[in-house]
Symmetry: C2
Subunit: 423 residues, 2 copies
């Protein structure tokens, strides 16, 4: 089971921008481009951030081209300032003089006019692109361009993530798919999102099978909201086998651990189930401090099923607002199975919700003991008057424990709702 | 006003790991290292991600050394698997044979034993480091190392962020500070965190002044929790002028917009103020869905001042649990100044807290109207029986609006608490 198939075509990426090298900006473009390239069967072998320095950029471009990648992506450096040097670097590295394109100039000017802004003199240089290059239509105010240099498609895109993404999807991907090596390499990708199995256990489970599909690579990727199984390979396109057969078998093996096949979040899946069953939900939170409610309301339209909740950090809120019996609190303690149950039941009574979730635990770093260590969390749920509680233990720091606990609560509700008949 | 001073010493960084190139992992180590280097007056001129491929790594190391950086950081590739090739790449690139270090082997084994784990055969190779290198004490199970190669300090660190960070701070920074070029280049850094002024307004405000400090660079960096002003330059070290003088003047200009000088978060600052004044706080949230409570409880020990809260998404929770008068709700609507006030007052009554925060607004994407557009948020506060409400409008998407609203609520409480006498 290999995660990466580096046998296919190779890409290189050069990012320009001192802000990346200073650490002021996280390079999210790299993750985006890496994933999108891989979806086309192209592996990025080198990704370089280089300072806004003309000669350093020229050398980097030349070094990349010597390795003959299928595509060289240049990200950033297309703005109007003196630090924006990608055009000049391509001119010098490839010996292609910059040419002013009046049509491009008019497009940029029109963009300024439509925004009620005045175009500065410095924007004029954005209308110049290297000889033989094709301009990529504006998404913001910086035009991109592409050109063929020997074996390599050279693409220059703005560094602003949404501008880069739009040009990638509208222009660059179609170009790559139209090329013979792109068409050859193009793969189907499936992402199977799971919750409740660790990454190593999942990888081990999957490695025990013979998939009879040598062209399919199976990878895993761990997040706070579970582990995603990523399948890449040829589609069976109607026939048997291929990616689809592997996906079907993995779904059968993992069962209800699988929560989505199309990148839906846990909150989204829970929301759809609540809508389908026709139930409302409320939350009673202690250690998560409001995070479960926040996650549920991440979804637009969640007011259709989410009534609200009580964050009961202080024990008096647990008894006086949620109606948790004081003797249960005194005997069992705030972090206990009984409390989680009483909190979930209490918020149902208070709000009239059909379903409820509760959390109580030791988020740390202080407050742990031998029998109630940091990371211990009880998650309670009520679904149509039936209460159930799970005891969990999360490793790591306060932030990690709280995030994991909130996702675990959503997943508990998801699994319980799966057992309900539709409304 | 320039953000980057590239006149000082240069660093290079090579990251190994297919997961970075596939886009499965965001390269947070790059941002971390870029910032920490700059704090020492060293600018990273090249940061390269290279595939887990021995020859590609060897070529990358050699190319870096030809540019004679003060430091070359190698991140990742120190684990026990066949993909972990940093040791071998250094061996080949520098012609320094790997040597087994029995003392290192025992340290790694002891780490496994203390965790109740059995050390695998594959871990044995982690005890080998290149000839002439010094091992960096374990933070996880992968030892790092450093060596001097010509002008360049070569440092190999594990890719796991917290392991890398601990080795950097405990070992590499002291090494760099002890070197003549490190001592020469070392700069003082000050970060002034502000809330309530946009980045461009702030930059414009600061550009109007003559700081009489040519060696000091002033940069700004926008986040959801405000704009940070970053000063880098020589310390006055007791005398007049220098960084400190600039910092003092900026603080005077920005006044109560400044919330911290030492990277404290808004939640941390609010927590300290509540402790100093001896007040408790509760929250009543609508559009933020629990996020204000979550932010407050991000702080360990927040149970000392945070009692809890009510998330009143459904209007019935607003009236029945928080006691908001139904006629106010009917006449003014859920998104109104009166509602924000009544929610904050209601949660004070319910919980007995001394202070309260409330949020109600239109987070979108639906639900907006001409007089109550998406992005409109009212933030209410009670401090010792005095209520005040602010009306704000945030641009952007649902997630952005909610995050900004939660931070704005914390900032409102901060400004109000500043006016209170200590307990």
């Amino acid at each position: 089971m290999s995660e990466t198939n580096r046998q296919g075509a190779a890409a290189e990426i050069i990012f320009s921008g001192d802000e990346l090298l200073r650490g002021d900006t996280l390079n999210t473009n790299q993750a985006y481009l890496g994933q999108r390239l891989l979806d086309l069967g192209i592996f990025a072998t080198h990704a370089l951030c280089v300072a806004d320095d003309l000669q350093a950029m020229v050398r980097a471009i030349r070094a990349s081209l010597e390795r003959h990648p299928v595509i060289l992506v240049l990200s950033g450096g297309l703005g109007p300032t003196d630090d924006d040097l990608t055009r000049e670097a391509v001119e010098e590295a490839l010996g292609r003089p910059l040419e002013h394109r009046e049509d491009l100039f008019e497009l940029i000017r029109a963009r300024f006019v439509s925004r009620g802004m005045v175009m500065g003199d410095s924007n004029r240089k954005q209308a110049s692109i290297p000889q033989g290059a094709t301009a990529i239509p504006l998404t913001g105010t910086a035009p991109g361009f592409h050109l063929q240099q020997g074996d390599t498609l050279v693409v220059a895109l703005p560094g602003v993530p949404w501008e880069l993404q739009q040009m990638w999807e509208d222009t660059v991907e179609p170009l790559l798919r139209a090329r013979p090596e792109g068409a050859r390499a193009a793969q189907t990708v499936r992402r199977i999102r799971t919750f409740g199995i660790g990454e190593s256990t999942l990888a081990e489970t999957l490695s025990e099978f013979d998939w009879h599909a040598p062209a399919v690579t199976i990878g895993t990727r761990a997040h706070l909201d579970g582990v995603t199984v990523i399948l890449r390979g040829p589609s069976a396109a109607g026939g048997g086998g291929g990616l689809e057969a592997v996906e079907t078998r993995i779904r059968a093996i993992l069962g209800e651990r699988v929560y989505s096949l199309n990148d839906e979040s846990l909150a989204e899946v829970v929301g759809k189930l609540l809508r389908r069953i026709g139930c409302t939900v409320a939350v009673a939170e202690s250690c998560t401090g409001g995070l479960v409610g926040k996650r549920i309301t991440d979804m637009p339209g969640s007011s259709e099923y989410f009534l609200g909740g009580v964050t009961a950090y202080d024990n008096r809120i647990k008894t006086e607002v949620l109606g948790v019996p004081a003797d249960v609190l005194a005997v069992r303690g705030a972090v206990s199975m009984e409390l989680a149950a009483a909190m979930a039941e209490g918020v149902c009574r208070l709000t009239g919700a059909d379903c409820a979730l509760s959390t109580t635990g030791v988020a740390g770093p202080g407050g742990g003991s031998d029998d109630k260590p940091v990371g211990l969390v009880y998650i309670g749920s009520v679904v149509k008057s039936v209460t159930s509680v799970e005891r969990l233990h999360f490793p790591g720091q306060r932030e990690h424990i709280r995030e994991r606990a909130a996702f675990a609560a959503l997943d508990l509700l998801r699994r319980r709702l799966l057992q309900q008949p539709p409304a």
